[in-house]
Amino acid sequence: MEKAVFIIFAIVAVGSALNLIAQRNPLYSALSLIGTLASLSALYVTLHAQFIAAMQIIVYAGAIMVLFVFVIMLLNTPEDHPEIEKQQWLRYLAIPFAAVLIGEALYVFREIRNITLPAQGEAEHAIGTTWSIGTNLFTQYLLPFEATSVLILMAIIGAIVLARREES
């Protein structure tokens, strides 16, 4: 069951991600991003991280995507040339860099494949429950949590200042 779920949702995630960068209309890209986020949330459930899966749906699909769709509809700019035309020679430079990156990734995957990790071991903590995440968040990671609230306050003030219409 886990196998079928992984294959289906990994294919959906990668396909939607490819569709995201291939689409001309930003609204279709937003829909593809929702597909990717929802299938990643299903994969989080197979990794026993239920709280993160629910949060992925609520925060990303519920809040961030609404913001994106709102801005897309507010601006409504048709795109005539979707790709950057300048500096075409950079394309040929991209091939060796991409080869280096892919080779590096394959090397890392090979190294990790040699370490056999059982997925069904005896577990002491549950990583997905709200209880375990909340306990860690408010004891060991209290300072980063408070810093995050300051960050959110800054983001709210910044967004209001940036999007406000200039008076006078």
Binding site: A10, A13, I52, M55, F68, E79, I84, I133, P144, A155
Partner: protein, 149 residues
């Protein structure tokens, strides 16, 4: 239920691979029978999403699609963190016997921080986009060159 799901996936692959020739199809089916999702598969998925996100950031002109590609990159990091913490949790007792103390809940906690950063980045970034569009009437990144010298 399990057998039904495997049969469904296998028949989808059979339909796809029909044109590819018998040998390749047979090898694919054998691979699927032995396949179990492990850490490397989640890392490969994360790597693919990261590469697609980077390609989107580098090649598109529309600044909103660039923001969406950044969200894709952040999600690739998230799936890596969750997969690592899952496999740390499964091997926690083995690691403790070897004298290595791990905290597998760090993965989900940092995933929450990344989601928060993504939300803040989207709010500020889209505010900048709206203000930019109001002043310059464009959201194409190669026409926004006020700071270029």
């Amino acid at each position: 239920m399990n057998a039904l799901a495997i049969f469904a996936v296998n028949s989808i692959f059979a339909l796809i691979m029909q044109a590819g020739g018998g040998g390749f199809f047979q090898r694919m089916q054998d691979y699927l029978k032995r396949f179990e999702p492990n850490l490397v598969n989640f890392m490969m998925l994360s790597f693919l999403l990261f590469i697609i996100g980077v390609a989107g950031v580098l090649s598109r002109r529309n600044i909103i699609i660039i923001f969406m590609s950044i969200e894709l990159i952040l999600n690739a990091v998230n799936i890596n963190l969750i997969a690592f913490s899952r496999y740390l949790q499964a091997n926690e007792l083995v690691l403790r016997q070897r004298g290595i103390m791990v905290n597998p809940i760090a993965g989900p906690v940092f995933t929450i921080f990344i989601i928060v950063v993504a939300a803040a980045e989207a709010a500020v970034g889209l505010g900048i986009v709206i203000s930019l569009f109001r002043n310059r009437e464009t959201i194409a990144v190669d026409e926004i060159d006020l700071l270029k010298w």
